[in-house]
Amino acid sequence: MNYFPDEVIEHVFHFVESNKDRNSISLVCKLWYRIERFSRLRVFVGNCYAISPERVFARFPFMKSLFLKGKPHFADFNLVPDDWGGFLYPWIEYMARNKVNLEELRLKRMIVTDDSLELIAASFANFKSLVLVSCEGFTTDGLAAIAANCRFLRELDLQENEIEDHRGQWINCFPECHTSLVALNFACLRGDINLAALERLVARSPNLKSLRLNQAVPLETFHRILVRAPQLVELGVGSFVNDPESEINDKLTSALQKCQSMRSLSGFFEVTLSCMSAIYPVCENLISLNLSYAPEIPGNELIKIIQHCRKLQKLWVLDCIGDKGLKVVADSCKELQELRVFPFDPHGVRNGAVTEEGLVAVASGCLKLNSLLYFCQQMTNEALITVARKCPNFIRFRLCILNPTKPDAATMQPLDEGFGAIVQSCKGLRRLSMSGLLTDRVFHYIGSFAENLEMLSVAFAGDSDAGMLYVLNGCKKLSKLEIRDSPFGNVALLMDVRKYETMRSLWMSSCEVTMGGCRTLAKMMPRLNVEVINDSGDLDKHGDDNQVVNKLFVYRTLVGPRKDAPDFVWTL
């Protein structure tokens, strides 16, 4: 390759899209490093505190697309205080000031403010795509700024964000000349929306392929939108409530039948059950179906819908589908790759409506299954062993038993053997979440067999430090380890401190690490940020080494302790 001019090498690199591959390429030699950095257009920063905007843009000056992640994963479950960090503004401010030609921004678990959104709208003339997942801190006013000023905006995708809805007219703010919209998802907004403005926007967006409505959009509007946009590929229904006698139902059926390109369906926040049959014709071509926000669709109706979905690859449902419904999935959806079953009633007295039977059925019938998130009432080793045997292709396997320390429902034994079978059989497993009664033994299995594991989530598991050590020693590709309520302490934390520089982050809460252990770690490893989160106020920052640390977050970083940490977060 030394005999090729740089332009040729750069042209070859152009075809390498994966950042992992690009990272490898840039390590080959200085020449390749240089060429690669000038040709990288999409940058991924997995932890916004691992690096600074200055250094990112110094290395990748022609960057157009940025994907930033902020808070640790357990922030999704209220384990991280709201103002812990993950602020977007400094990144936008830097990019605006240095005239970065930002076109795409994707964010996960970050604090986004209206100021940031306004600054984006004012600074990046070619801005095309904004995707926000599980973010918070902004209002519909910020969205209005984006709508009004980003003339070439193609994509506005809001997934499960907490957005303060001022019930203003943000959707009116798309100017009449704005015709470039391809994807619009505002399903997570809780407020009303200007329906006429929405319809006009859809009418003047011939390239619109993906539209996810919120609960405030009634059936009549939905029907009119369908008539205007039969080219839609992805559709999120808002409210599907109607008078069953109304003539709209026939019109709806025929409008849906004209949507030949429809491949993904979601929403249905509220429904009139007798109108559901209108969607059956669309089901035949669906590859993705998300009914996990449709609490009003009972199990037997879910079954009717699923029986039509023969090409389905991705299914998200509530557990009211029951084991019975999962058997229908197993029979009907032979192409299924991803299944997520969420609890209808997370805190109710009833413990969840699916059991190991449903899982075994799906694993037996859907041999292409590779990604699972399953909230269930109970599990058995036998079931997990069967699943492992039938589906060796799992990449993501997340099992949540609603009672977190429940043993094998049949034998009352720990579930070590079951999860052991999963890691042994699924050689490509990259992500694992476990629950149920688990001893150190399961960690021994994980350390021994899970060679490709990148992310592990542990809750209420293990007996001793040995458990955590098995994982740290054995999983060479481990990148993120998050542990809660497990008896791991300083011995495990400090046994191999260099390991944490090979990982993105470690989270430990309600474990047994102490201030002494954290101080030692911080001292030994200056390139880690060892953050003690004292939101309960119990700890004395200069106090005894023996104080137990309730929340610990450790991550590698090239830029030292962060300057935006709140008072209760101490970087040791």
Partner: protein
């Protein structure tokens, strides 16, 4: 590393693989293990038949109780998702539809005389009176007697009552389950003299 040989010892430590008849968590497989820093304090045995829980508490670890709502962050689903499924009919800017008595989405408040705070239960998750009464007995740690049409609830000082959609207070159990589930607005477990009064056909 000296510690790695300790892990090998675990493999040949047959105690770890020994089948025991006791409930899980009662044994200490790594009793003398040098790596061990604490006793197994997380394990709780849950008696499935009576619904009672025995708690082992050491080191101030958060307790797993019969009310899962008390464990922060469990089950691990985003708060955003919890809000949507728990209150499907409550939306910003809309009134709650009181005429909608669809049992699937109905949460009702339950009060008990003498208890400091109320609870909420999801009627749609029960299939009949037996399940409901069992749940109430577990939730409030009481015994409710046997129902009979003539005597009301015999055998205890508690009687479950409910307010129907006309605003009247009725004894739980008099009407068919489906009718009850769709007309019940809230529950109250009466205690003592008041409760006994209901059984006398007043």
């Amino acid at each position: 590393m000296g510690s790695s040989t300790c892990y090998d010892n675990d493999l040949v430590n047959l105690e770890a693989t020994e089948l025991r008849l006791g409930l899980p968590g009662r044994h200490e497989p790594f009793e003398n293990h040098p790596m061990k820093t604490s006793t197994s304090s997380i394990k709780r045995s849950i008696d499935e038949t009576t619904g009672e829980e025995e708690e082992e508490d050491s080191g101030g670890r958060p307790k797993v109780t019969s009310s899962k709502a008390q464990i922060v962050g469990w089950p691990p689903i985003r708060s955003f998702r919890k809000n949507i499924t728990v209150h499907p009919k409550s939306k910003v800017g809309r009134e709650e539809s009181s005429s909608s008595s669809d049992a699937v989405g109905t949460y009702v408040k339950v009060s008990m005389d003498g208890a400091p705070y109320l609870r909420k239960i999801h009627l749609g998750s029960y299939k009949g009176y037996d399940q409901l009464l069992a749940a109430l007995q577990t939730m409030f740690r009481i015994t409710i007697g046997q129902y009979s049409e003539r005597e009301g609830y015999e055998g205890s000082e508690y009687a479950p009552t409910y307010e129907d959609k006309d605003g009247d207070w009725m004894l739980v159990g008099d009407v068919p389950w489906e009718m009850f589930a769709t007309t019940c607005k809230r529950l109250r477990i009466m205690k003592g003299a008041e409760a006994r009064g209901l059984g006398c056909g007043v």
